[in-house]
Symmetry: C6
Subunit: 267 residues, 6 copies
């Protein structure tokens, strides 16, 4: 089954557990329960599913959802060929056949109604009807569905329907605590742990502005960016501004407040 191999996670991804999530996921996977990962941007949801796929030794097929994604993008479609039409499985169908973990990232972006195609895969039926092909795919025993979503984006227009939500067990993620985060930053950017801790201080100052001028906190990823720039010779203040302030806001007042926080830490 060489196809499955190509979706296997090749290297152990670095993942720093924050609680019981590894044990909980292992139990959910054992029962093949569908899983929903909730949490803010850049707190490690995608990394976690990659880590679990690697630990469970299962192939992982990820799909970044978007508003224009049709059911056919998930399920498959007929392509024109020299001999007429040829069916091509979509990533969801492929995962169901191979017994992979199928990860639908940022699922609120997808049109809710497109998502009804996952319903028969997430109840006792564990089947995927390919209406256009007239085939019913019975999911491989190893298949599991995982979705991520960021409750902060939730709006009247873009929320999952209850009939979709009530098919998942949910894991709540958040930014790691300061010590854990500094450890991650130091390791990922290969910088001094003390410097990492000061960068995390800046990030935490920024996160307190969430709901007060910022839509989202500063992600761990941006802290790693700042650390990386410092390692490449950029000054600490410039690196924080480039990586942790300028990308996330255009509001002059918020920029000022954050620049002061940087000065307070590195001034």
């Amino acid at each position: 089954m060489s196809n499955a191999e190509s979706y296997r996670v090749q290297q152990a991804p670095f993942y720093q557990p924050q609680g019981d999530e590894v044990a909980h996921y292992t139990a959910a996977y054992a029962a093949r329960l569908p899983v929903m990962l909730k949490g803010p941007t850049g707190c490690g949801k995608s990394r976690f599913v990659e880590y679990m796929a690697w630990q469970l030794g299962k192939p992982l097929i990820s799909v970044a959802c978007n508003e224009d994604m049709t059911a056919a993008d998930l399920v498959g479609r007929y392509l024109l060929d020299a001999n007429g039409t040829r069916w091509q499985d979509g990533p969801l169908t492929l995962a169901a056949r191979l017994g992979a973990i199928c990860y639908l990232d940022e699922i609120v972006e997808a049109r809710q109604d497109t998502l009804v195609v996952i319903h028969p895969l997430t109840d006792h039926r564990r089947t995927l009807p390919l209406d256009k092909k007239g085939e019913q795919v019975a999911a491989h025993p190893d298949f599991q569905l995982v979705i991520s979503y960021n409750p902060g984006y939730q709006s009247l227009m873009k929320d999952l329907k209850q009939s979709t939500k009530q098919r998942f067990t949910a894991f709540q993620f958040d930014y790691p605590d300061a010590a854990t985060e500094a450890g991650i930053v130091a390791r990922e950017a290969d910088i001094d742990p003390a410097l990492a801790a000061r960068l995390v201080e800046v990030a935490q100052a920024g996160r307190r502005l969430k709901g007060h001028g910022l839509d989202e906190g500063i992600s761990t990823r941006l802290v790693v960016y700042a650390a990386t720039l410092i390692r490449r010779g950029i000054s600490e203040v410039d690196a924080c501004r480039m990586a942790m302030v300028r990308p996330i806001t255009d509001d002059a007042d918020v920029v000022d407040t954050l620049d002061h926080a940087i000065a307070a830490v590195f001034g």
Copy 2:
């Protein structure tokens, strides 16, 4: 008629009757009256139709409706082939030809106007005109149409038209009573009936929040999820949180209320 066989329900599905619905459905089917199943998410509508198809010995063709579903998705379309175009029946046409029960799940999701294609199948004509093919399909004597819908989702934009509604007999579903539900949970997750009863207590606490912070009650499916996680070694409190709280709400107050209910039962 090997095609019909592939749509036959292979095993007796587990279904716990809640009233006279089996007798009522049997009568409606005997007269081939179209049937509408009404009720909240996860209360067993899909399971019921599967059970009836099995008991009546008829093939079942299910379609999960969605907003992007066109009439062609139900009725069929021409596909390109090496020799030009080839007609492919859609699930509704297939059901009409084979004498299957055709189950249109979550019908309010479909564009109302697409649904006019079912009209000639649900009155004295019992025919399906394939306008694009220039064919009139007379429904097989065993054909019956069943739709499900959740009145809770009903809105100005998404309601069935009276001219559609007035073609169906309706069955009202709700969550089972506590004892019945505990029996279902114990059987499905293979756990102790006393534990199942306590999980149902939590679910019922949650259902009282419907309209007071929750759009929908906690479905029996989620109770079974919690029971399954407990069986896999997750603590009762964690399992309830993962399966019955986190998936259905992002509201911190509602989460708190539900966590208290869990603590009251399992604390």
Copy 3:
């Protein structure tokens, strides 16, 4: 002209006249005037046009209109073939060629502007230009156009334009009087006329709620459904609820009122 034969109404449809409509229609057809049938859901408009087609011995081509119907769905289109494209007549074109009665059901559902294609068929020209094919179809002398519409659905967004309306003679339909309706129900469901009369009583109670909680009255079709279920052994009260209440409303107050009406008649 075997094609026309396949659209001929095979059996005399049961139709119970309510006034002079048969004579009036016969006159309109004699002059080939276009006809508009107005009235609420399920009051017999489709049955009437079928009856008239049978009595006049003309083929009948029916089209259930919907919002996604394009002009091409009525008029025809090119299909891909082994030898390139091939024209296929739509139902309107077919009717114009064969000399059939073309019945556009629930015409307000169609996009108004799509309907301009019927204009040249409904004035002195009696032609249908197939712009895409570069052909002008002169209507067969027997061709007639009939449309139905339900004024209750009329809204700012969905009303016929005056330039369309002013091409038709109109027939106003309504529910039959009680005695006539009871006769229809008794005959269609093969039940006792006295029982039929009591079912009609329930329906009339419901119709009085139109505009006071119900968008539409209870159609004769639903009364026949209730009668049919009773004949299959369902109790009178259950049958009335399943066929005449639950399908048409989700409003608990309206359900109560109707249940009381049922109890008053059958309690």
Copy 4:
């Protein structure tokens, strides 16, 4: 030029002039000025252009405009063929090549922006660029463009742009005076002139309701319908109701008022 022949008006259409419009049109055609025909539904605009085409001996190509009409529907498109794609002229291109009068009926229905394709045909250039084909069609010296529109429908969303309007000379049409209209009705339906005069009285009563419950007056076409039904044996009152009241309004008060007008004339 057999193609042009197929668009030639075969018989002298009956047209009753109401003023100098024939002389004015003849002058506009002599200079090949584009012409706009304005007026209410059913007052004879289409008949007039047919009459002029017949009198001038020019082919006439009519297009009923609608909201879904694309530029390609007017100009032409590539069709798939056994040997790849083949260009097919649209009606506007065909008219420009053949030297026909091209009549765009109910032009406000078309998307305004689609209409910019007519601009180069209506100024000193008299050319039609076929961008998709890379060809510039120089209009035949006999080509003329005529459009009709009903100012009553004019709305913010649907009005011609000034840059389109300022390419036309305009003819204002209205219902004919009573004597002329009665003459038309008597001739078209072959009825007694006195009866025709009484039917016109009813129509005029209805036209006074325009803006007071009716969007449009009763067209001459509907008066002819009523006359035709009377000739087929329908009573005068029934014929007026079927042809002049029921098709144009669903408002019970307006129906009453018009029924009284009928009773006043024929009672």
Copy 5:
């Protein structure tokens, strides 16, 4: 390069300069600066660009923009062929290759975002990336881009973005002064200059109503129409009404005011 020839302006167009616009355009062309022509409907913008193309001896490719125009309509697309797909340059690409002046007429009609395709052609790059073809077209040294737009149509929905506007030098056009306009009318319609002057008087009266009941002034084109009709024997009053009043307004009060102005001049 016979293709370029087919786009060359064949005859010297009649153009009456109103100021320094010819010298200014010549300078802009010498530096190949993109040009924007601003001004009301029918004031001669298209004629001017044609005149300049003729004077500079460059081919001219004009595109009438519309809301449905896609980037592919400007840039080109793959067409199906007997041997698969074949690329066909759009008018913008063709102009860039041939060294033509490309004139995008009524550019506000086009979707703003479609217009970003012109950006790389209007800065120091002077290239047109054909993303779908994987080719970068370097513009011919003679290529220049010209757009026209009418500020009067400008609305929140339809305005050019600053990032588009700031790529052009702009020329402001207006109606010519009375003497110049009378000269144009007399020459174009071959009428007496005194009569032309009186027609211009009527037009100027109408232009004073702009913003007071009229969206746009009466264009010179309509004055020429009126002159042409008079030359064909229509009375002065009738010709003014047909050409300068009826086409541009449906408002009875505005019609009255304009009819009085005509009577004042020709009465």
Copy 6:
């Protein structure tokens, strides 16, 4: 790898640094961090990325984003061929394969959700999944993603999502200071530095109107246009009006204010 060559910047572009941006970019590129360039229209963002690509010796693939750009336009699609379908890489895929800098210009124009396709290229995965082809493209080690956007255009409808923003380091651009800008203008248009300085004075006067009648300041590009026209013999006042006033506003008051500023400088 001749394909990469064709995307290499051929000549050293003229770029006048305004601060540390060259060093900062060099550091970001060394770590292959994604880069966001922020700033107003025409302040040199595109020129900067071109300059950096040239200095780093990497190929540059630019894409002008627009609202109609689909994920397929970035990623690639199947084309029809004589032998069926053939895959064609989009610009993003091409850049990922070749190791180019991929520059997405005016990214706010693109549909946000389309942009999720860049997510897996901008985190630790550095891969691009081609779902339709069933291929995972691992980015070349030299690949880097750069986006530009203008915060001034930011609106509720068109802003980048935080989950996109938090993948970039940001560079803030603005108009250069007066001396630098005059130097650029003098060099680009080959005019006298003193004249250039006076033109910059006019531009700065205009920029003070931003938010007071102007949506955007006058870009350096327009100052260069004015200088170019003066070099071609147009008077200073006319050149300023044509290049710096008429293109950017239709508001008579703003035009007046700017014309006074021109008179103050050149009068």
